[in-house]
Amino acid sequence: MALKPGTTSNKVAYVNARLLDPATGLDAPGALLSEGEIITDFGPQLFSGGGLESIPSGIQIIDCAGHCLCPGLVDMRVQLREPGYEHQGTIISDSESAVAGGITSMVCLPNTQPVIDDMSVVEFVARRARLVGLTKVYPYGAVTKGLAGKELAELGLLAQSGALAFTDGIKAVADASVLRRALSYASTFGLMIVQHAEEPSLADGGDMNPGELATRLGLSGIPREAEIIMVERDIRLVEMTGGKLHFAHISTADSIDKIRDAKSRGLNITCDTAPPYFSLNELSIGDYRTFAKLSPPLRSEDDRQAVVQGISDGTIDIIASDHTPQDEESKRLPFAQAGFGGVGLETLLAVSLELYHKGEIDLLNILKHLTCAPADLLKLPAGKLEKGRRADLTIFNPERSWKVNADDLISKSKNTPFDGRPLQGVVMRTVIDGRTVFENES
């Protein structure tokens, strides 16, 4: 970082970068200039003549060393543990983890204590996140009061106070008539419902994907059909109500086929998946590894490949981290008693880049799933390089390799299903509103 003498302005020039903007397809060497919190210019031509000397004085210069510069990542599925479960994670600890993962905006589930089913909790989360001043935090509101699946929460008022969309978090809205009303009522205000698609009567009491490994280990199955049946049912309800529905962390080949078909019929349906579902399969459970106990469970290799295909062809719109902090006590238990979920903020980008390194999906397409696609779906002013927008940026070295070590994670909870995995792709710098909030020192 160099500062020209006589600096008085708050202009920053990010030079020698590989600019990547999935929204426009830009992939070229160039520079970006921000002033205060705003992107004022960028492109291959900016500062292109005459090297660094041509940059006017008074501008702080950040040399990106040829690394990728893209819009800051937008993570649409994060569980925060504040308020209520601060021993597993706080807005500070998870925000620090998020900026280390290049995430500049994240959307948190309402399964806190108290539940985000009331305007005051929406405002609490927003205020806490503002005070922390790292990753921008936007809450989902609950679809039903107390996430109990019975009575609608005040969707309209929650939306006015800042809830981006509505979900019962890690629980499905299981009652068909409740979801019908929720979709219908939400569409009054153009609001979206996010569904954890899992039929509880089939999934309850299950531990992992059924099949040879589950049988061998003596663990109970959560059948694929638990997801598929609810996807099929919910597609019908969207058709019936004209509502807007997003399926979270889709994990099975058949669900992806159903969603592909529904989209081709023009229904207002989207979906996301999370890195474990395209990079791992059920075999990661091995000999009762509780860090690989996820919800939905890791599926078969065929399902994993279908998820990769779904991302590639756009059936799966978005990749989200599905960050789920669990303390050691929740995971150091017999498998059936252990909690579900894995942390994912710090590995979101690098695990996603596996798809690029394997030659399965091109870099811009992966970044689209991590930036403009979630931003557009949630109508966030983020995820794009655009003059006049907030300067939320992620600078990363796509090639550099590292190995995940759970103990080295910044996240307060260490339950990563990727522990020990070699990855390629390191976040070098994270910029939020023109301010560097994370810098890789190594």
Binding site: E212, R216, G218, Y288, R332, P334, F335, A336
Partner: protein, 323 residues
Amino acid sequence: MTRKAADTTQFPHRHLLGIEGLSSSEITLLLDRAESYVEQNRQADKRKTLLRGRTIINLFFEASTRTITSFELAGKRLGGDVINMAVSASSMQKGETIVDTAMTLNAMHPDVITVRHADSGAVKLLSEKVNCAVINAGDGKHEHPTQALLDALTIRRRKGKLAGLQVAICGDIAHSRVARSNIHLLNTMGASVRLIAPKTLIPSEIEKMGAEVFNDMDLGLKDCDIVMMLRLQTERMHSNFFPSIREYFHFFGLTYEKLANAKPDALVMHPGPMNRGVEIDSEVADDIGRSAIREQVEMGVAVRMACLEILTRNISDQSQEKC
């Protein structure tokens, strides 16, 4: 050196967590040692001093009468100090986890901990936190290795061999650790395994563990050498695994009529405790000519003595190596 060292290489495992992963020679070693204890257990003086000074803790998180008694007798007959700990579900609810319990007991320097737990994998988890040998006395739906060994010893004594036999395991396969351990053992020893149950009680892809699946008793029992019945937990009825005990017994209970499909000298076995009139007819169970059920109990003590002997032998060898 070096008889002990040679023995350790014959059974190079610190724990006995399951049958999966044991070789046929390791299983044979355990069965041969057990065989030698059968006669001793029939003498008036049953006591040996092999485990003098050793502490064995039987840690049972799940109710048991016969297994814990069998382990206790096995330890005492070898001269060890045996402590039984029945940890009820209620005291676990006080908040102590299985890992806490393991570390607490470990601090008391036992030589062997025998563990039964309602969750699959729980015994392995505990074994990772202690310095002593651990024997799995049944974990959830996963494994119950000493039961499979005592079944094998019973079969071997009656039939003179294991290889080449046709064995049918009948009943609640889905929830049975006994079935899984037996599938592993019988396959490793060269026997063929059939599983017979209604489809609700057959777990998915179990055929990949090496078994042929039948849903009809008459077909499945045809020409079998061994008929192993499993205990049916009647409370499964409330989860709709089967509609009634009457219907279950009609189709899957072992009667003389169904047994007639097996070989004339087919042996009937049951890990106990039996539900008479649910999975097995009383007459069949009590038929001394056909049923080996009481002999299984007897072999249980001998098998557990063999396991204790071989695992503690390993410990002393390891501690010598460290010195």
